[in-house]
Amino acid sequence: MSASPASIPAPFADPTIAIEMSEMNKWYGAFHVLRDIDLTVRRGERLVICGPSGSGKSTMIRCINRLEEHQRGRIVVDGVELTNDLKRIEEIRRDVGMVFQHFNLFPHLTILENLTLAPIWVRRMPRREAEENAMFYLERVRIPDQAGKYPGQLSGGQQQRVAIARSLCMNPKIMLFDEPTSALDPEMVKEVLETMVSLAEEGMTMLCVTHEMGFARQVADRVVFMDHGQIIEEAHPDEFFKNPRHDRTRLFLNQILN
């Protein structure tokens, strides 16, 4: 939690709220990528964000851990508002895990070293403790036998599971998934989704950009549909898939489900 009371105005101090975005806008030069995003995520909530490509969904979740900077509006993560204050940004990043489309494992380090790097250098954890911690999470994603290998020696599905374990090693409060299965061969999608489902079942706060509608139906508490940098519609998956309110949502669902 931030020490500065100025960063926690009354409505955001609610401890049940994990992420609060209000009137958030972002531009790439003259291009308006995100328009007036208002989104509140409660602790333990599982959000699936979908929408056509270029709709700004990846950019939006990348704003949450400040991989992208927003220009207007506010984002409060875990009670801390994102500003230019580097200390706060790093504080938030420590507690927000992220999984990328292209895994982004560190190719020059072994799987075990990938998992222990941040705990050792950011959390100042002794090496042995960090390694025990890493092995615990490798077992959770069911690849403890690969600990000594390098990322290049693993299949895509295994690499993505390592990436999930790498984030979990920091013991995050929130997990962001940026199209985690889009770069995978079809037969490997399942193993990664299973890992994510088990994480969801444990009550992790999750925001997931994905086109896996089966996953959305199974675990999401809410599905958010975005188009042209705006949130068009958000609803419980049953509602979202059965009666989408918006024409654009209907069009999108038709395209990806048929």
Partner: protein, 371 residues
């Protein structure tokens, strides 16, 4: 049989090699015959004879009655000494300048850009002659030497710096080493159980205690001005300083560009991953980007190191006796020009092949494991 692709290619190669070898034999034979006809001695016997040449400065001890082979060794030592210093300094500076060029601070990136462009776009010899001429234009005569740091003097005659010698007793040294070994090995055992945060101070504390126990005294000999010159201290001549500074400035420009390219070659995803784990920019650079960059920049970096060895021959322009300068003197003194040129070629080939194979070995050692 002649239509078989393999047989034919082997035959062609045999014929080619034979032709080249025959031409080489013809060349050597004619040269030696002509030299003998003019009464010019041929062979490497002269190497053992006293050289009687003058070498203005050397890091090895040299007297003019030493034989030729020793003069060659002295020149070679100067070249290796100079090249090593330039390689070390320009690698460190190149890394800093290369990283600073990517800085978001316009002053830092701008300054480094100017450095890189100046170094890359001017012929090195112009830089050397310019620097060497500055020596007499900018620096005062020895009597009015500048004293920028305590004990450091700069004048027309070069730099003078304090001479440091280490003084210690065997008993103290042994106790200190025993202490260090004991302490470090127990730290090594504990390494996995304590935080990295505590490890470095513990190690530092050990070193300080060991130094204290060893009772090492550093005897510093300060240079003093004695009316006409400095006595005491270490002298760095204007010639060595010029070639050292000039080649370092020049090579740094190239290495900085290689470093910059190397950093940019590491994908944005690696930075994203590092940031998302809470690592700071500096830590991502050190732990993630630089280790991966090293693999990319090693081959072009090695070419730069080879260039340093070759460019060290420009020492002749400012009068520093490097290997080539010494060889030139030897050739004109002994008139064994063909042998001399062979020695020159052989030595530079050997130096650069050594550098290359060291780089290749390191490259293999750190290459990224792929499936």
């Amino acid at each position: 049989m002649l239509s078989d692709v393999k047989t034919r290619s082997i035959l062609i190669q045999i014929v080619l090699v034979a032709a080249v070898a025959a031409f080489a034999v013809l060349l050597v034979h004619t040269t030696f015959a002509n030299l003998r006809a003019r009464g010019i001695p041929v062979g490497f016997d002269f190497l053992a004879m006293p050289s009687r040449i003058v070498i203005s400065e050397a890091i090895l001890t040299y007297k003019s009655r030493d034989p030729y082979y020793w003069a060659i060794a002295v020149g070679l030592a100067n070249t290796i000494f100079l090249s090593t210093l330039v390689i070390v300094f320009s690698s460190i500076l190149g890394l800093i300048v290369g990283i600073a060029r990517l800085s978001s601070n316009p002053l830092a990136s701008g300054t480094c850009r100017v450095w890189v462009e100046l170094a890359r776009n001017s012929p090195p010899i112009v830089l050397l002659i310019f620097l060497y001429s500055l020596w007499w234009k900018v620096l005062p005569p020895v009597g009015e030497a500048l004293n920028p740091l305590p004990g450091v003097y700069a004048s027309m005659r070069g730099f003078v710096v304090p001479d440091v010698s280490v003084n210690l007793s065997t008993a103290g040294l042994l106790t200190a080493i025993a202490l260090l070994v004991l302490g470090m090995s127990s730290l090594l055992v504990l390494r996995n159980m304590i935080s990295r945060l505590a490890l470095a101070p513990a190690g530092l504390f050990l070193v300080v205690v060991a130094l204290w126990v060893a009772d090492i005294r550093f005897d510093v000999e300060w240079p003093t001005f004695t009316g006409s010159n400095f006595s005491g201290g270490n002298e760095l001549t204007p010639e060595l300083s010029t070639i050292l500074i000039g080649l370092t400035i020049y090579t740094t420009g190239f290495i900085a560009e290689i470093v910059r390219g190397g950093i940019l070659s590491v994908g944005r995803g690696q930075w994203d991953a590092g940031h998302s784990l809470g690592l700071s920019r500096g830590k991502i650079l050190r732990l993630v980007v630089i280790p991966q960059m090293l693999r990319v920049i090693l081959p072009p970096l090695n070419s730069q190191y080879i260039n340093v060895v070759k460019n060290s021959t420009l020492a002749i322009a400012v009068g520093y006796p490097d290997f080539l300068a010494v060889m030139n003197t030897i050739i004109s003194k002994s008139s064994h020009s063909i042998e001399g040129v062979f020695i020159i070629l052989g030595v530079y080939l050997l130096l650069n092949l050594t550098l290359s194979s060291a780089a290749n070995w390191y490259n293999r050692r750190i290459s990224i494991v792929e499936r």
